[in-house]
């Protein structure tokens, strides 16, 4: 009796001892890996640290990273690291224990699928880690504190090898079609293509992308404008998304990203002049081309339609039906400078901003798209171009497919472009097509263009002020980039303190 008095048994938590008996346990454990997929806010953050978007609140901690006045102690960097390893641990928990579930003829397929999901979801996190930090510890099983303190940096090539191997194994375990939201064979191939592109292993990337094409399950959705809307959720272009449900499992993308007047909240990240100017005219010519027809007094007319599908520009109709007017003296809540919550560039991001969410701005169910077919096409094209496999026109065709999506409908690229021109074209296409979807930071790192793209002031809209054209410049905001250091983030300081084996990235 005395013994039991002190040995209380909790009924408010599940003890690990009782788990891993049935196939259902495996499914429940796999389900717990998925919440580690990236939310829109994470994707926006990554772009906010590049040239195409800007951390709107200059006092936000991530603003220091954007401005490059941070060090290895930055909490933003530390949370990127820990979030990825948290996802890895959840996957390791499955892969370490799933063999404890007795395998039968009836559950074999399902158990294999769970293994495949766990492997792919783990690889997803490693792609981010390798691309962000370079040589990172490769943790492939549940580890103890002691083991954690003795890990060493794995060379990045070893990480890429591991990712490639894991995803190829996952492909074998996964079905082609699967419950919405789960990792399918196609998702594993698409991740493999992405990883190999990032690793500079272009042939592997081409092969993996080709596997996605060969599945013949995915196609471009005809309307870019609606791609990020509720109506288009789960359309044929989506290969993987992080799923949300309004009321039940919601996000707050509307309240954090919609123009201030719509949500009376914040604009956490806003687009910059860099991306705005990158959108060509509808005729395909860049706005800098004197023949393009660009009218600096009407800068948003006749542009690549994706511009106004991706961002709110002055004059756009807002979800509440009013006209977006961020001009400094407009007197609207959105006026630049009226508060630090209003956009500081005059643009705001439109992707994922749905009119349906106006009524309940912090309770949104819109999914966060993580892999879509357009990325695979552009990955394929870029890898082909890098390998100078341009004669078969497949690279050009892939780019043109993206450019000629139903409601985008830009003129196709000329088939006379040389490799350099094609490289420039695919990079530009990728930046525009995938803007605000979390790719830019990794892209400018692999292209080694960050050192030119990032430094300098942040600019916004150009508008008429007393008859004179004026361009918004974010005050007191000068971004720096050290090419000998900033192509990798630092290993978080606390990690290095706890594990002296870890080697810091150069110059950090």
């Amino acid at each position: 009796c005395k013994k039991d008095f002190l040995n209380t048994v909790p009924n408010d938590r599940l003890s690990g001892e009782f788990f891993w008996k049935t196939e259902e346990d495996a499914e429940l454990a796999v389900n717990a890996i998925y919440p580690n997929l990236d939310a829109q806010s994470q994707l926006f953050l990554l772009d906010g640290l590049t040239d195409i978007a800007h951390v709107n609140q200059f006092f936000a901690v991530s603003s220091q990273v954007e401005q490059n006045v941070y060090d290895a102690s930055s909490s933003v960097i530390a949370s990127q690291w820990s979030a990825a390893y948290k996802g890895i641990a959840a996957a390791n928990f499955v892969l370490d224990n799933i063999n404890r579930v007795p395998e039968t003829e009836t559950n074999k397929v399902a158990l294999n699928q769970y293994r495949g999901e766990a492997k792919a979801l783990r690889a997803y996190q490693y792609i981010k880690l390798a691309a962000s930090f370079g040589d990172v510890p490769l943790v492939t099983k549940t580890i103890s504190i002691q083991e954690g303190k003795q890990l060493v940096n794995a060379p990045i090539n070893e990480i890429w090898d591991f990712i490639d191997k894991e995803l190829k194994e996952a492909v074998e375990l996964l079905p082609s079609t699967i419950e919405k939201g789960r990792i399918s064979k196609g998702a594993a191939w698409a991740l493999n293509a992405r990883a190999n592109l990032y690793a500079g292993r272009y042939q592997n990337a081409i092969d993996a992308a080709q596997k996605v094409f060969d599945l013949n399950l995915y196609h471009l959705y005809p309307r870019y404008e609606k791609l990020f809307s509720y109506a288009a959720e789960g359309n044929e272009e989506i290969i993987l998304d992080r799923q949300y449900l309004k009321d039940v499992l919601s996000n707050n993308v509307f309240s954090t990203m919609a123009p201030y007047s719509q949500a009376t909240s914040t604009n956490t990240y806003v687009p910059t002049k860099s991306i705005a100017d990158l959108y060509p005219m509808a005729n395909g010519l860049p706005i800098t081309d004197i023949n393009s027809g660009f009218d600096k007094f009407n800068p948003y007319i006749d542009r690549d339609p994706r511009m106004r599908y991706s961002m709110f520009v002055p004059g756009d109709v807002l979800p509440d039906g009013k006209i977006f007017n961020p001009l400094p003296k407009s007197g609207t809540p959105d006026a630049i400078g009226s508060t630090f919550n209003a956009t500081s560039t005059g643009y705001t991001i439109k992707k994922y901003i749905n009119n349906e969410d106006l009524a309940n701005p912090a309770n949104n169910g819109i999914n966060s798209i993580l892999i879509r077919y357009a990325e695979v096409l552009l990955t394929f094209a870029e890898a082909k171009i890098e390998l100078n496999q341009i004669n078969d026109q497949t690279a050009l065709n892939a780019i043109n497919q993206v450019r000629q999506r139903g409601d985008v409908n830009l003129p196709p690229l000329s088939n006379t472009l040389n490799r350099e021109q094609l490289r420039e074209a695919v990079r530009k296409e990728r930046t525009i097509e995938l803007a605000f979807e979390g790719f830019r930071m990794f892209d400018i790192r692999r292209w080694k263009t960050a050192e030119t793209a990032i430094p300098g002031s942040v600019y916004g809209i150009t508008y008429l002020d007393n008859g004179q054209l004026k361009t918004i410049e974010v005050p007191s905001y000068i971004k720096k980039f050290d090419k000998n250091r900033d192509y990798l983030w630092p290993i978080p300081r606390n990690e290095k303190i706890l594990n002296t084996n870890l080697v810091q990235n150069p110059n950090w």
Partner: protein, 1081 residues
């Protein structure tokens, strides 16, 4: 001669024989008239008595009155009508002038005192008070009465021909018989060898407080009370005994709290009616607390409640009415703020917005139209109002020797400075005492309390928005509509429209205790108690839409919502004690063994729904029955099984020894860690009992004492040893699923934190009037449970581990002085405590820095006090470009007028490596001084209290110099920031959108030392003659002022020094004007 002992151990002797015996042993002669005095009357005296005692007995038994004049004693029988002889004529004449005098003797709490000796000065005549404290005797109208009673200061009162003389005796605090409440018992103060401070209940009710913590502030050395303001019904104060014992844990905020025991039962300090308290004992060193074992590391506060004395019913009514006001008033100056903005924009190279041009400022300031040109910040005028508070306690006590009872009922109503807040509190307590037989006593107590309070649901926004994001907003337009700032914010809207959160807390405590005196000195006590805490909260968030008509900004909450919470805790306690107390000649031994079982079960439940038909429909079932509804809850149980013992031994009342031990078992741990042992030893030496000191009149009492002991802290999350899986949610398509995964690493090796404390102390009484207590202590806590960071590559949250070590050393001094001369009685008390806190080890980890650049940063680092302020040192402001060029800067683009951060490690770069300790978040010195002076029926008392060597870090608007359109104190804006014309300014140049100058640094850290006149009180007791006509015992009235003034560096910021660092987003400190009444009959 009166003290000469006469052999009288005889039965059936006569008065004559007794007189003869006295005459033969002394120089006395008896004169009497044998007609009047029957000297042959038989009496029995069965002891050897002194002359005085014999005469007293005869006086009482036979009605004889003795009047000694030199060696002649005249004897008269006042009961006899016969034989008025010449010899006694003179005496009888005087006697006939005597009048009967009656009266009541009470203590200063109004409790009647039975058994008080009342004597006529210079005569043998005397009497004593009965069970109701009443006496009567005959004495000449010109005589003086002397009242004496053990434990009280003797008092002489001139009769002045009155027929009634009521007296209030003051307790003699320096009395040798004074007892102190200690763990599971009491001890005579003189024989205590541990460090214990005792506070009498009446001290706590001297000034109006909304919780007991506030009443304890400054009353005992080593007790640090941080008062966090007077939010009605929810006021909180942080109480620390001898510093911060262990590293704080955000998930476990009570980890540093002292154990509070009320009449043997663990309870929360805020749940007790101060009017019910008899004594509060603060057990500070390990020797006094070890008997509470695993919960004692942070010190123990023992509270005993008042009990009835036998006698006729005594009714006491205490009531006060107070007016509350905010004591701090942050001030902003619109005009200078607008000029600062102008400069800030210029400094950033930006165009000056039209609002801040010279012309606009002029128009703005000269206009009378504050709807068109609102002042920058009027919230502190707009939101705060004077608010009343009423508190009354009625108690009735009395009974027979075999049954005594005291009941009390209290009602308190507290309105608030800000609308939307308020509290109602009601409680009753019944304490009963039964004498079942000569050997068995039973005590049964019941306490019920209900505390209803309300606060705005969006409470945090209310405070926050008084400072942040609300400049140039019109609180309310003339047409009644609410205004908003350009950011769409208004604290008034949140306070008045956001909805109300109601909180209902009920506590029921029942307690039965029985004593059985088995044989002489041996006693068995058993106690059974239950405490039930019922917590209920209803937070309704209104739906509302407010559009500011000037800025055209809308703030709306589109869906109303309700969160209901219930937390129920039931705790059962069983205590069994066997005590033995015996004196063998010079040896005194007392011993105690006992066991205690505590079982605590908490059940929580919460529910949420939204979209109610309107804001008045507030039943949870009326909200939307769809995916938005949710509920949550859980069970938690912990048990404690303990065995403990104590032995005291004293030799000659001179050499004192004590040993304690407790063997504690806790369900929070598993395996061999479940039980642990906590021992302590202490010794004392009463030097004043030594011959050497007996001749020194100045020293009445002098005792040296020392102690050593170990205590524990079991404050760790339940089931930390168990590897558990957590649930998560996800959605596939339109169906939501749950998942299970481990999120926190488990630690099966987890065990107690252990605190080892050594104490050396001294107690002295000098000149009869002056008492001194000195204590020096050193305590070390090791095995501190902290969530040591673990490599994030593990992918799980860190479990608590027994790691860190923290030291506290300190010195405590308490002085007391009291004196009476003529009609003036006065007393002075003071105490000072010094505490040094150091983190000794973090198991090779750390430092742990919390907070960020724009909020207070705290560090927990080996060698520094816990949670030291962390940041850059600064070296004034840059004055020239050359200076900047020759100095490392934190960011590029620095200009004259910017802050010069110090490159502490001299590496030419200013980064987080240059940060250092810039302040202390917990006071090193705390002190309190009180003075009391009584003249006639008036009494004046004052109480000063304070702390020193503590710092506050300002953050948010207070630190930003107007950068984010937040509240900017006039202190900053009024010619106090750097411009080329003001190079010596205190604050740096303002730069719009540049926060480099507000990087965490010593510039943001303000010395939080303060001294505060906490209370001044004047009371007047109505004259006895008047009170008697009203058939009362005592009536007194008082008025007092609380928080009258504070000397602090934070005054210039309009902030209170006791409030926590950061954005000043809290319910303010209040001052109170009080009018009180105290009636007894």
């Amino acid at each position: 001669q009166m003290n000469v002992r006469i052999h009288t151990n005889v039965s059936n002797t006569t008065v004559k024989h007794v007189f003869d015996a006295i005459e033969s042993k002394t120089a006395y002669n008896f004169i009497y008239d044998s007609n009047n005095v029957d000297v042959n009357k038989a009496i029995s005296l069965n002891e050897d008595l002194t002359v005085k005692e014999i005469l007293n007995t005869l006086e009482t038994d036979l009605g004889l009155v003795f009047r000694p004049i030199n060696n002649t004693i005249t004897v008269v029988n006042i009961n006899s009508q016969t034989g008025n002889t010449r010899a006694s004529n003179l005496f009888l004449q005087t006697l006939s002038k005597q009048a009967q005098i009656t009266g009541t003797v009470t203590d200063n709490k109004g409790e009647s005192l039975p058994g008080v000796s009342v004597k006529v000065k210079g005569a043998l005549t005397g009497s004593s008070t009965d069970i109701n404290g009443q006496y009567s005797l005959n004495a000449p109208g010109s005589s003086t009465l002397v009242f004496t009673y053990i434990g009280f200061v003797a008092q002489e009162v001139a009769v002045n021909n009155r027929s009634s003389v009521n007296v209030i005796l003051l307790e003699d605090t320096q009395n040798l018989e004074e007892v102190v409440v200690v763990g599971y018992g009491t001890q005579k103060k003189v024989s205590v060898t541990n460090s214990v401070s005792q506070i009498q209940g009446e001290v706590l009710t001297e000034r109006p407080v909304s919780n007991l913590g506030q009443a304890l502030q400054g009353q005992a050395p080593g007790l640090t009370v941080l008062d966090l303001g007077g939010m009605p019904g929810r006021s909180t104060s942080t109480i620390r005994v001898r510093g911060i014992t262990t590293l704080p844990d955000a998930n476990n905020p009570a980890k540093n709290d002292a154990l509070v025991i009320v009449d043997g039962i663990e309870q929360s300090l805020s749940d007790i009616n101060p009017d019910d308290i008899a004594t509060v004992s603060i057990l500070k060193d390990a020797a006094s607390t070890a008997i509470y074992g695993s919960r004692a590391a942070n010190g123990v506060i023992l509270i005993t409640t008042k009990r009835a004395k036998a006698g006729k019913a005594l009714v006491t009514f205490n009531s006060y009415y107070a007016l509350q006001n905010t004591i701090n008033h942050p001030k902003m100056d619109t005009e200078s703020y607008m000029h600062l903005q102008q400069v800030a924009y210029q400094n950033a190279g930006l165009a000056i917005p039209s609002m801040y041009t010279d012309e606009s400022i002029k128009t703005w300031m000269t206009s009378n139209d504050r709807e068109q040109y609102p002042l920058a910040n009027v919230w502190f005028d707009e939101l705060f109002q004077t608010a009343p508070q009423l508190n009354s306690t009625l108690s009735i006590s009395g009974g027979s020797e075999n049954f005594k009872a005291r009941m009390s009922a209290r009602y308190m109503k507290q309105d608030a400075l800000i609308s939307g807040y308020g509290a109602n509190l009601g409680e009753i307590r019944v304490n009963t005492d039964y004498v079942v037989s000569k050997k068995i006593n039973v005590v049964a107590d019941l306490n019920y309390r209900r505390n209803d309070s309300k606060a705005p649901t969006l409470e945090n926004n209310v405070y926050d928005r008084m400072f942040h994001g609300t400049l140039f907003a019109v609180p309310k337009y003339a047409d009644g509509s609410y205004g908003l700032s350009t950011q769409g914010q208004s604290p008034l809207v949140y306070a008045e429209l956001g909805g109300v959160s109601h909180r209902y807390m009920e506590n029921i405590i029942g307690n039965i205790k029985g004593d059985w005196a088995i044989i002489d000195g041996l006693k068995f006590t058993t106690q059974l108690a239950a405490r039930i805490d019922l917590f209920r909260e209803k937070s309704f968030g209104n739906e509302f839409t407010v559009t500011d008509k000037r800025y055209n900004v809308t703030r709306s909450i589109l869906n109303n919502s309700l969160t209901e919470t219930r937390n129920n805790t039931t705790e059962y306690t069983i205590n069994n004690l066997l005590t033995y107390d015996k004196t063998f000649e010079k040896h005194n031994i007392s011993a105690l063994i006992g066991n205690s079982i505590i079982s605590n079960v908490t059940n929580t439940l919460s529910a949420y729904r939204e979209r109610f038909y309107n804001n008045d429909i507030q039943s949870i079932g009326q909200g939307a029955n769809d995916g938005t509804k949710s509920n949550n809850g859980g069970d938690a149980e912990w048990n404690l099984a303990s065995y403990f013992a104590r032995v005291n031994y004293s030799l000659n009342d001179k050499y004192l020894f004590e040993a304690n031990g407790r063997y504690d078992g806790s369900s929070r741990f598993t395996g061999s860690n479940q039980y642990s042992f906590f021992p302590s030893f202490s010794a004392g030496w009463r030097l004043s009992q030594e011959e050497l000191f007996s001749n020194i009149d100045v020293i009445n009492e002098l005792k040296l004492r020392g102690s050593w002991g170990r205590t524990g802290n079991q404050a760790v999350g339940l089931y930390s040893y168990l590897q558990a899986l957590s649930t998560s949610s996800y959605a596939f398509g339109s169906s939501s699923v749950i998942g299970y995964s481990p999120t926190t690493l488990s630690n099966p090796d987890i065990t107690w934190e252990t605190t080892t404390q050594t104490n050396i102390g001294l107690d002295a009484q000098l000149f009869r009037n002056l008492s001194i207590t000195l204590d020096y202590y050193k305590k070390r806590t090791d095995g501190i449970l902290i969530n040591l960071p673990i490599p994030q590559t593990i992918g799980l949250s860190a479990p608590p581990q027994n790691a860190g070590v923290v030291d506290n050393t300190g010195l405590e001094v308490a002085l007391g002085y009291r004196n009476n001369s003529h009609n003036i009685k006065y007393s002075l008390n003071g105490n000072v405590a010094i505490n040094n806190n150091r983190v000794i080890s973090l198991a090779d980890t750390g430092p742990y820095i919390s907070g960020d650049d724009i909020n207070p940063q705290y560090i927990i680092k080996e060698g520094l006090p816990i949670n030291a302020h962390w940041g850059y040192l600064t070296d004034g402001l840059f004055q020239t470009i050359e200076e900047i060029n020759n100095y490392p800067t934190i960011t590029t683009n620095r200009k004259p007028g910017d802050v010069k951060f110090v490159d502490l490690n001299d590496d030419g770069i200013i980064n987080s490596d240059d940060m250092t300790m810039i302040g202390s978040s917990f006071p090193k010195y705390t002190f309190g001084f009180s003075g009391n002076i009584g003249y006639g029926n008036f009494e004046l008392s004052a109480f000063l209290q304070g702390a020193a060597k503590v710092d506050t870090r300002l953050a948010g608007a207070l630190a930003e110099m107007g950068n984010n359109e937040g509240f900017t104190p006039a202190l900053v804006t009024k010619n106090n920031y750097w411009t080329p014309e003001h190079p010596d300014a205190r604050f740096p140049r303002p730069v719009k959108r540049d926060i480099t100058n507000s990087n965490t640094s010593d510039r943001m850290v303000i010395d939080g030392s303060y001294i505060r006149l906490k209370n001044v009180q004047l009371s007047y007791t109505l004259p006895q003659s008047l009170i008697e006509k009203l058939n009362m015992t005592k009536i007194s009235v008082y008025t007092s002022a609380t928080n009258l003034f504070t000397i602090s560096k934070l005054n210039e910021w309009g902030l209170d020094p006791e409030t926590p660092s950061g954005r000043a987003t809290y319910y303010p400190q209040t001052s109170l004007w009080t009018f009180g009444l105290n009636v007894q009959f």
